[in-house]
């Protein structure tokens, strides 16, 4: 079965940032120095070759793209300065844009100014829409009644709407990725669900992907970190990343708990509770964790702490900024909520917080955030191969 190459692939990839990849002459130094590349996933050389030749389906079906944590060791060892590390990042951007159905991701990655404009506009539209429904008369109430300001119902349904859109686009992308990867890996339904043994294997692989790797950051922590030169622990990439992930998930959990308590009629959302209260405690700790992680990522990219953070694209900044604003405004709301005399700015910060948080979710399949969907899928296939 011969594959017809896409002669335009390389030029297209270059729009996503793989600028120097033409210089690569396939020596394989990158693969040799990569701490994560092994017999079940050889990269980056093979990925670069796919790009040069124009093997689009092979590239998009490569779980290897998502096996990389971007330590940039390969970039330092590349004799032709082809920047394989940046190529891997660009190929992931290209993959995100290729999997999702709307073409929005392509705009964000290839036209960063337009992407920024879209990012601001989406938040502005969401905020404006909520403002049109807001009760501006309650601004001077003796307590900060956030959900009287913007109706609870509205936030609820708008949030569900954003989630639904995100899930739809995300699922579309994940299905495309799964099909492409399964084809390249030769994985069939039979192999994951055909027998009791297969199901057990698939479940094990899912645990490896979600539990051990995504939550536990095992390979990031054990195999990938500390290179090229060891960073001090407080800014070690796996830890900063893990704190971000855990913080985000903690905040998500706190929100669920808070909503659950309201459903149970224990307390209304947005009302003051003591610090030990489970949802508030979790939210505060998780928020600090998220803020620490995101802030360090931002400072690292700004100061170019490591080779990894030497090049930053608009999409890198967009994700970090959205997360940072969400986290910061969250804390600001907490401050406002527990201040003796409720400040009026609390309402506006709240509006911003809700708009940006919604945008974050809505844009997930199109921004760098999409890696939270695709990386576990790739790691699942990787684990499946390991368990074969």
């Amino acid at each position: 079965m011969t594959t017809v190459v896409d002669v335009d692939l390389l030029a297209d990839l270059k729009k996503f940032g793989a600028a120097d990849v033409s210089a690569c002459f396939s020596c394989g130094n990158c693969t040799a120095t990569c701490l994560l590349s092994d017999n079940d996933a050889t990269f980056p050389r093979r990925m670069i070759r796919y790009a040069q030749v124009g093997l689009k389906d092979e590239l998009l079906g490569s779980k290897e793209l998502w096996a990389c944590y971007g330590c940039a060791l390969c970039t330092q060892s590349c004799p032709t300065k082809a920047d394989p590390g940046e190529f891997m990042a660009a190929a992931r951007r290209y993959a995100i844009a290729s999997y999702e159905p709307t073409g929005l991701a392509r705009v964000i990655y290839t036209r960063p100014r337009l992407g920024l404009l879209i990012g601001v506009l989406v938040a502005a539209v969401l905020a404006t829409f909520m403002l049109t429904q807001a009760d501006l008369g309650g601004l001077h109430a003796p307590t900060l009644a956030l959900f009287q300001f913007v109706p609870n119902e509205l936030i609820h349904w708008l949030g569900i709407g954003a989630m639904a859109a995100m899930v739809l686009a995300g699922a579309w992308g994940v299905v495309r990725m799964v099909r492409a990867t399964a084809r390249r890996e030769g994985v069939t339904w039979e192999a994951v669900a055909g027998s009791r043994e297969a199901v057990r294997r698939a479940a094990g692989a899912a645990w490896d992907a979600l539990g051990v790797e995504s939550l536990g950051q095992r390979r990031f922590r054990q195999d990938c970190d500390g290179e090229p030169e060891p960073e001090p622990l407080w800014r070690r990439r796996w830890l900063v990343h893990a704190l971000t992930v855990w913080g985000f998930l903690g905040l998500f959990g706190a929100t669920i708990i808070d909503y659950g308590l309201e459903l149970l009629g224990v307390k209304a959302t947005g009302t003051a509770v003591p610090i030990w209260y489970p949802s508030r405690l979790l939210g505060t700790v998780a928020g600090l964790s998220l803020m620490y992680g995101v802030t360090l990522f931002m400072v690292g990219r700004w100061r170019r702490w490591s080779a990894t953070q030497a090049t930053s694209t608009g999409s890198d900044w967009m994700l970090l900024t959205l997360l940072w604003i969400t986290g910061l405004t969250g804390f600001a709301i907490e401050v406002a909520l527990y201040a003796g005399q409720p400040p009026a700015w609390g309402y506006w910060v709240f509006l911003l917080h809700v708009a940006v948080a919604m945008e974050l979710m809505l844009m997930l399949p199109f921004t760098k955030f999409a890696h939270v969907m695709y990386r576990p899928v790739a790691l699942f296939f990787y684990a499946l191969a390991k368990r074969a």
């Binding site: 594959t3 030029a11 033409s22 210089a23 030749v53």
Partner: protein, 589 residues
């Protein structure tokens, strides 16, 4: 060592004073041959004045001792029993010359390759054989006569055959050191392949301009005679002084002209491989050779690259077409990788978005051409290696484009198909059809059909035919840079022969005893070098050997029914005496 200089030779001739040196060769000889026994066996020969063994006959110190012996003992013959004459003939001729001994009174006896190495299992037998060989060598030396090198006058003119870049540059080089040149070109125009090319690697100077520059320089040199529409058709005469016949075509009438020349430089060039229809898709619309593609690119300069009016957006180059084939031309043409890489750079300058795939078997852009290769990769050319035994397949697709299918070594084993607008077959060189010239000059050709030099490193432009040099691509495929270097090497070789005004030749040639010759003519047809002619004198028809043309092969000697021909240095008397020497010592069977 015999101290009896008065002893007479066996055959009653004047006594000789011969020095015999038997070499150990470190142990190469003495481990298997009892060299002391050999010395003892011949030391009593009345004509042997000095008989000695030596650790290394060729060592500097030993050479000095030989010179001293020859001078002090008034030796008139020298026998060195050591290795093959191929190694040290020149060495010991030099020893003789330094001691004022005629170099042809020296005989080399091979007791290493032909004795100790061959009979390492039989010391006794090897020793006996060494004694026999040395005895024979002494017998031959006993009858030696002093010989002097043949001196022939040379003509300070060279005929350059072929007016391509090599021939043109060679002609200028010769003219500049004072050698007249007759430049013979078969076609109507000078310039050859290079003269038809646009910008060439590595410096992008058009081939046409380079040739134009050479032509201008030739026009400034009155000692260069240019003949176009002309072919070399005859060569007679002897070394350093040949008569060349040139057939010149013209519209009025054909003409046969004669020139006296001392040497020839053959620079007739090569042809380009022409693929057969069906070979890698040749014959399909859009499949072109490198030469055709070069023209296409040069004509597109400043505009867009198009094929039959359609813009070319992707190209596949298939390398090694007609070259490096297990069946067929096994050699590499050396220029084609660099030429193709360079062409692809020209294309990327025309339009950087054209996708270029190079399907190769390894890119031999050697030396500085590597930089072009790197540059082409950086500009987006992709190199894909296909397996030696599975060349790419070229097909025409339904939409009128081309599909090239191959296995890429770096992504295989599954084949991939490249949809392209143009396929360029990178064709190498083939030897040019030149049967008449080859036969005329008796030029040796290799299995590949190109002319052969004597030695690829040490004598790279000389041929076994005296006075005939080869240069450029008639000798083998190469880029213009190397072709011109060869031409200039031929200039030096020609100058080496011609600038002294005379040449010295080995005197080991055949001579005819006029009295004994009956003029039967048997020898006339045997000489492979046309060195024997006949003349009529008072006593009838006689054979005459041209010493300048004779190579001393000895082929004519046994043919003569009257033993009227002798080979100087290897006379019948010497050879019979040597055989007698071998026989009397009784080599064990």
């Amino acid at each position: 060592m015999s101290e009896n200089p008065q002893a007479a030779g066996e055959q009653g001739e004047a006594p000789r004073r011969i020095g015999v040196y038997i070499c150990h060769c470190g142990g190469n000889i003495s481990d298997y041959v009892d060299v002391a026994a050999v010395r003892a066996a011949i030391a009593d020969d009345p004509d042997v004045v000095v008989a000695t063994t030596t650790m290394f006959a060729c060592a500097d110190g030993q050479q000095h001792e030989m010179v001293r012996d020859i001078r002090e003992q008034h030796l008139d013959g020298l026998v060195v029993a050591s290795c093959s004459p191929k190694l040290h003939t020149t060495t010991f001729r030099g020893v003789s010359r330094r001691a004022d001994l005629n170099p042809y009174a020296y005989t080399q006896v091979n007791i290493r390759e032909q004795d100790s190495w061959a009979h390492s299992d039989d010391r006794e037998g090897a020793t006996q054989k060494a004694i026999a060989l040395v005895t024979a060598g002494i017998a031959k030396t006993r009858l030696s006569t002093p010989l002097e090198p043949l001196r022939v006058e040379t003509v300070p003119a060279t005929m350059v055959v072929g007016g391509g870049v090599t021939g043109l540059r060679t002609a200028i080089g010769l003219a500049d050191i004072g050698i007249a040149v007759i430049l013979v070109e078969r076609e109507a125009q000078l310039g050859g392949w290079l003269g038809r090319l646009g910008p060439t690697f590595p410096h992008d100077v058009p081939g046409r301009d380079q040739v134009a520059r050479l032509l201008a320089e030739i026009a400034e040199r009155p000692t260069i005679t240019v003949l176009t529409n002309a072919e070399l058709v005859g060569k007679t005469g002897s070394f350093g002084n040949y008569t060349a016949k040139v057939h010149v075509r013209s519209e009025a009438a054909d003409e046969l002209r004669q020139f006296q020349v001392g040497t020839f430089v053959i620079a007739t060039g090569a042809d380009v491989y022409q693929p057969e229809v069906g070979e890698l898709g040749y014959g399909i619309e859009g499949v072109v050779t490198l030469a055709e593609f070069g023209t296409l690119v040069d004509e597109a300069a400043g505009g867009t690259l198009a094929w039959h009016g359609r813009r070319v957006r992707s190209i596949a180059y298939v390398y090694c077409v007609g070259n490096r084939q297990p069946e067929g031309n096994a050699y590499c043409s050396k220029f084609c990788c660099a030429a193709t890489v360079h062409a692809s750079l020209k294309v990327s300058r025309l339009d950087p978005t054209v996708r270029q795939f190079h399907l190769h078997r390894d890119v031999r852009a050697y030396g500085r051409y590597e930089l072009l290769y790197t540059q082409s990769r950086e500009r987006g050319s992709v190199y894909l290696r296909y397996p030696d035994d599975a060349p790419p397949e070229v097909e025409r697709t339904a939409d009128g484009r081309l599909a090239v299918t191959l296995v890429d070594a770096l992504t295989g084993p599954d084949p991939i198909t490249l949809p392209v607008d143009l396929v360029v077959l990178v064709t190498g060189m083939v030897p040019r059809e030149n049967e008449a010239l080859t036969t005329l000059l008796k030029l040796p050709t290799g299995d590949d059909g190109f002319y052969n030099e004597i030695h690829p490193k040490l004598r790279p432009v000389e041929t076994v035919v005296d006075g005939v040099m080869i240069a450029g691509t008639c000798q083998g495929p190469k880029p213009a840079t190397e072709a011109v270097s060869g031409g200039l090497a031929a200039v030096t070789q020609s100058a080496g022969i011609l600038k002294r005004g005379f040449a010295e030749l080995d005197p080991l040639v055949a001579t005819v005893n006029e009295a004994a010759c009956t003029g039967c003519g048997a020898c006339l047809t045997t000489c492979p070098y046309d060195a024997i002619s006949s003349y009529v004198c008072d006593t009838g028809q006689k054979a005459l050997v041209s010493a300048a043309n004779c190579k001393g092969c000895g082929g004519c000697v046994p043919v003569c029914p009257d033993d009227a021909i002798d080979l100087l240095g290897y006379t019948s008397a010497q050879m019979l005496a040597a055989i007698d020497g071998l026989a009397t010592t009784g080599v064990p069977a």
